[in-house]
């Protein structure tokens, strides 16, 4: 058995000696046991030095035994599964675990940057704001050095192979913490039948009982815990979560829990997800999160071997580890005497207890005296000797004069210094919930504030430090919470009682006085992780940083991974002292999630990756497109075929082919993604009149019309074709990307502004699969594919709609066109989309029917000067800018109309949609390119517009573009310039935006 391991039998402590575990630290192979944390196993192996501090690279050891730990931060594992900044005190060891120290190079023992320690006098709080400014150009170099020096662990450099689950959960009562208070709360609430969740971040329940030698109801504490746990497990509506940290308390009793499922297991035993995020809506919450012991602030209090007294107890009782052989205890309260007794019983030599109180007389000090341990009362430890490990401590007598101690310095040899500065209730979650923590002078700690949500604190979290109080408060809180959630049970047994004795009051001791003024002697650390010393806080106050929030930001107090769990209160008190204020005045910094750090992975969950990051919306024809080798484009959440390259074809070649085939014979495109809304009811026409800029009431049945929709600000918002299906029913198309927005926008007007209109809106986007058959041969294809429709130009004219069948599939066919060609849109129920499409392909085969994608669709529409909302418009474009003044009704009001009459919308020099023809007919302008008049003008060059759409038109044999140009319509014929990044300038001539078939003859044939 290694040196630091106490002799123990199987039942003592929480480790299992029959299950040894091999692990490595900094490359050295070591042994521990099942139940050990990395910290306990290291201590058992006599290893105290575990890391280097952030700023000064001082050697650091293990301070605590749980989440409060500021120093023992390690890098876990290697490769894709490495984890930075793991607390050795929280990491359960498993076979094969590899960990190493952070922030040191080349090695932990010999860290080059420990020279920072030498220069530490030049590095007080905020020193970097005062220097590194000259010469100006050097800052980026200095900064690089600063960056390299800071930071703790190393990020993985490979994608995470693990899985992360998430779930929602609901309960009547959520209990945080499974110490005595939390266990009793869960028990009392559970017995009523309420739905209860009990979460504790440790590997097993018990909280501080895991290292207690007290008895409850005459049983050893952990025996009692086991009994309670059994009862809880038997409850049907009880959910017990271990290794689960409640890390956030949000509005309306929404709490977040991170459950670690695998981190304690060797790789080969890991099953399923690594972590699970619980998103809990709790009707009532009981916070039984315990209390954290505070360190004391004295010279070199950061040396390895200086530990919290409760941590020493924990290592002895829970892990059967002796963290030292000769210990000095330094305290301002009784609880450290308990630790001293634990040490004595474990055979550790207790050199003395240094107590700042003049007459410690409680039960525990008496017991210790009886064991023959010296108590040095009215005294303090002022300094620690030893660098990589405590060697001795210097003790001086109080009181101080003007803050300075005079007199004898007594040197006491020790390799362990156990300290206790009192206890701070874990008020984090109650503070996060909105309650304002209040300072309590008697107990020298912050207590949870008046609840503003449905929560209460119990036990040490509530400032009740005696075990009996924890048990009874927990029980009461659990019962009360259940009652308020609607569950009661009158036969609750009385809470159990324990062996624990009452303690004497604590005597606040913040900055421990010494023979030096603060800042002149050895460093007295307040926040160990961020190397914030008492002198830094005093300096901040001296320099005018009086608010605790300023001090936090100026010194980095509480900024670390530990969020100041053990350091903050001392820092606040020292600030108060130096400002001559009270701690209540100074107050706390804001408590925020997370209580302890949580992986990005757990919060992201499985909603990542190609399939699950966002829904991929697919049309009924998706698989067909895929089989035909389509390249896809994301349009909103949809995947749309972009083009269909044949083998060896470039995108441009494919698009040229698709365009020509469509213009010359026939093409086919899947337009199922367009938004489709049925508008029904007797006021539908009136409704459309208000929503669209043009008039609708006179549209004949089975006729279609193009509509333009504006925001109330007069800017173009959406467009599409709407068909009148019957007297009171219309069928509206929206853009693919705009569909959801338009639908909810229309519902909003109907429901909130015009509830008197008799109109229903029903979204039918998903019900229909739609194919557009486009091109001069489209009529022939339709005639071949359809029954029951007369396709002659007279009986089925442009902008009208008919019902019939395609093959045997009932279909609605709309003769509308987004390409300027003769074209039909075939709508069938989506379940029959594929057979419909296949019929059309088969019939079209003799005409070389060519499927085309969005790129070709864009070229075809641009040749016709048709806009795409969102591409040729950007939220600052009016109908008139687009040359669509014709679509604005003069006789009725419509949404956005009034805005068009504002001064700015009437300006002559607004940007207007025009065409651009490059002088070099094959040169395609970059979309987004800026347009200038004089390419040689000095910077800033005035810009008169930009290219919104630009393509090579195979059909015209010319590059074409659409652009928004200032006063563009009156500039047609002028030459403008588009300067490129590489310095070249492309000249182009402004033209009418309609490049092809300006009279619209082709679509009307």
């Amino acid at each position: 058995m290694p040196a630091g391991r106490l002799k123990t039998n199987e039942t003592e402590g929480r480790i299992t000696l029959s299950r040894p575990i091999t692990f490595s630290f900094n490359g050295k192979t070591l042994q521990g046991y099942q139940g050990d944390t990395l910290a306990s196993a290291l201590l058992a192996n006599g290893i105290h030095l575990v890391g280097r501090s952030w700023k000064y690279h001082r050697p650091r050891g293990i301070l605590g035994s749980g989440t409060e730990e500021p120093n023992a931060v390690v890098q876990l594992g290697i490769g894709a599964r490495t984890v930075p900044n793991v607390l050795a005190t929280q990491l359960e060891i498993y076979e094969g675990l590899e960990a190493s120290s952070v922030n040191c190079w080349p090695s932990l023992e010999h860290d080059l940057l420990s020279v920072n320690g030498w220069f530490s006098r030049l590095m007080p709080a905020g020193f970097y704001y005062k220097t590194f400014m000259w010469p100006k150009s050097m800052w980026m170099k200095y900064e690089q050095a600063i960056r390299r020096a800071s930071g703790l662990g190393v990020s993985p450099n490979l994608p995470d192979p693990d899985r992360y689950e998430k779930t929602y959960a609901h309960c009547d009562v959520l209990v945080v913490g499974a110490g005595p208070a939390g266990l009793m709360a869960a028990l009392a609430a559970g017995r009523t039948g309420a739905r209860v969740i009990l979460a504790d971040e440790q590997s097993e329940p018990g909280g501080s009982l895991l290292y207690s030698r007290e008895t409850i109801e005459g049983l050893p504490a952990m025996k009692w815990v086991a009994g309670v746990w059994q009862e809880l497990e038997s409850m049907e509506e009880m959910k017990l979560l271990r290794r689960s940290t409640v890390f956030g308390y949000h509005d309306q009793n929404f709490l977040t829990i991170a459950e670690r499922l695998n981190d304690h297991l060797p790789r080969w035993e890991c099953r399923g997800a690594r972590e699970r995020l619980w998103k809990v809506r709790a009707r009532q919450v009981v916070l039984a999160s315990g209390a954290l012991e505070r360190p004391l602030v004295f010279g070199n209090n950061d040396r390895p071997g200086v530990m919290l007294a409760s941590a020493v107890s924990c290592y002895i009782n829970r892990f059967a580890v002796a963290p030292g052989s000769r210990c000095l205890v330094f305290t301002n309260n009784d609880s450290a005497y308990g630790a001293a007794l634990d040490m004595v019983d474990a055979g550790i030599q207790v050199q003395a207890v240094v107590d700042c109180r003049p007459r410690p007389r409680g039960v525990l000090p008496e017991r210790l005296r009886q064991r023959g341990v010296e108590i040095i009362a009215g005294s303090v430890v002022v300094n620690v000797k030893g660098t990589h490990r405590v060697k001795a401590a210097q003790v001086m007598q109080l009181p101080a004069q003007n803050g300075i101690l005079k007199g004898e310095k007594r040197l006491i040899h020790c390799d362990l210094l156990a300290m206790s500065g009192g206890w701070s209730p874990v008020v984090h979650l109650s503070s996060q919930s909105g309650a304002r923590a209040r300072w309590d002078d008697a107990r020298a700690c912050f207590l949870p504030g008046m609840p503003v949500q449905q929560e209460r604190s119990a036990g040490a979290a509530n400032g009740s430090f005696s075990l009996n109080a924890c048990l009874s408060e927990g029980s009461f809180a659990g019962r009360e919470a259940a009652r308020l959630a609607g569950w009661e049970w009158d036969n609750q047994p009385d809470p159990p009682s324990s062996s624990m004795q009452l303690e004497e009051p604590v005597q606040p001791l913040w900055l421990v006085p010494s023979e030096y003024a603060p800042g002149r002697g050895p460093k007295q650390f307040v926040d160990m992780q961020n190397d914030v010393g008492a002198a830094d806080i005093i300096l901040a106050a001296r320099e005018g940083y009086h608010s605790i929030e300023h001090v936090k930001r100026y010194t980095a107090l509480g900024f670390g991974t530990d969020q100041g769990k053990v350091g903050n209160i001392n820092g606040m008190a020292i600030l108060a002292q130096s400002l001559g204020a009270t701690i209540a005045d100074t107050g706390t910094t804001t408590f925020r999630p997370n209580y302890t750090p949580v992986t990005f992975g757990a919060i992201a969950g499985q909603e990542v990756g190609e399939k699950l990051f966002e829904p991929v919306r697919k049309t009924a024809l998706h698989e067909w497109h895929q089989a035909r080798g389509a390249a896809f484009e994301n349009v909103g959440q949809w995947k749309r075929p972009w083009y269909y390259p044949k083998s060896g074809e470039s995108m441009q070649e494919a698009v040229n082919r698709e365009c020509l085939a469509t213009r010359e014979s026939v093409g086919i495109i899947d337009v199922s993604t367009l938004g489709k809304i049925v508008i029904t009811g007797k006021d539908s026409g009136e409704f459309l009149n208000r929503i669209y800029t043009n008039a609708w009431k006179k549209l004949a049945i089975d006729k279609a019309r193009y509509g333009l929709m504006l925001g109330e600000d007069g800017m173009v918002m959406d467009d599409g074709v709407t068909i009148r299906l019957s007297e009171n029913r219309y069928y509206m198309h929206t853009t693919t990307g705009g569909a959801a927005g338009v639908y909810s926008w229309m519902e909003r007007w109907l429901q909130t502004e015009w509830p008197d209109l008799q109109v229903f809106l029903i979204s039918v986007t998903d019900h229909w699969a739609t194919a557009a058959v486009v091109g001069p041969n489209s009529r022939r294809v339709m005639m071949g594919a359809c029954q029951g429709i007369d396709f002659s130009a007279q009986s089925f004219p442009f902008m009208s709609s008919r019902e019939g069948t395609v093959g045997s599939i009932p279909a609605r066919i709309n003769r509308i066109s987004f390409s300027g060609e003769l074209a039909y849109e075939v709508n069938v129920p989506a379940n029959l989309g594929k057979p419909m499409w296949e019929v059309l392909m088969a019939v079209g085969e003799e005409f070389g029917i060519t499927p085309y994608g969005t790129e070709t669709m864009h070229v075809l529409r641009a040749e016709k000067g048709y806009i795409i909302v969102g591409q040729d418009t950007d939220g600052s474009v009016t109908p008139d800018d687009l040359g669509m003044g014709w679509a604005l009704s003069k006789t009725k009001d419509f949404l956005g109309k009034r805005s068009l009459a504002r001064e700015d919308c009437m300006r002559e020099d607004r940007k207007q949609l025009v065409g651009l023809l490059t002088i070099n007919r094959t040169e395609v302008l970059p979309e987004g390119g800026q347009i200038v008049e004089d390419p040689d003008a000095a910077i800033p060059v005035p810009m008169i517009g930009h290219v919104t759409s630009s393509y090579y038109s195979a059909c015209l044999g010319h590059s074409i573009a659409l652009a928004l140009v200032q006063g563009g319509r009156s500039r047609i014929g002028e030459i403008v310039h588009i300067p490129l990044a590489e310095g070249r300038v492309i000249p182009a001539r402004i033209s009418d935006p309609v490049f092809y078939d300006p009279d619209g003859e082709r679509q009307n044939v």
């Binding site: 309306q252 809506r281 600000d713 909003r748 909130t752 504002r902």
Partner: protein
């Protein structure tokens, strides 16, 4: 995550809703009769109070109703919700 009482569906999680901003902004009867200031007031100017706020929400993943909520913008507490067309609750606003 807020928990919002839909007047039809009861308490539901915020993610089922979309937000609609200040409630009870009435579209002017005859916009053409307004001057630019009055129109800008309707279009853009908002109370945006720090405290109780009457606002619109849309139960977009639920019953698709728009409705009104009285919520405190500082504490985020929701006092009540009520249907479109109903009067806002009495009290400080």
């Amino acid at each position: 995550m807020l928990e919002i009482p839909c007047p039809w569906c009861g308490l539901r999680c915020e993610s089922e809703f979309s937000y609609g901003g200040e409630a009870h902004i009435v579209r002017p009867e005859n916009p053409e009769a307004l001057n630019d200031e009055a129109w800008a007031d309707y279009l853009f100017m908002r109370k945006n109070p720090r405290g109780p706020h009457l606002e619109q929400w849309h139960h977009v993943y639920g019953c698709r109703r728009w409705f009104n909520v009285k919520r405190d913008t500082l504490s985020y507490r929701i006092e009540c919700s009520y249907r479109v067309g109903e009067q806002p609750p009495e009290g400080e606003i």
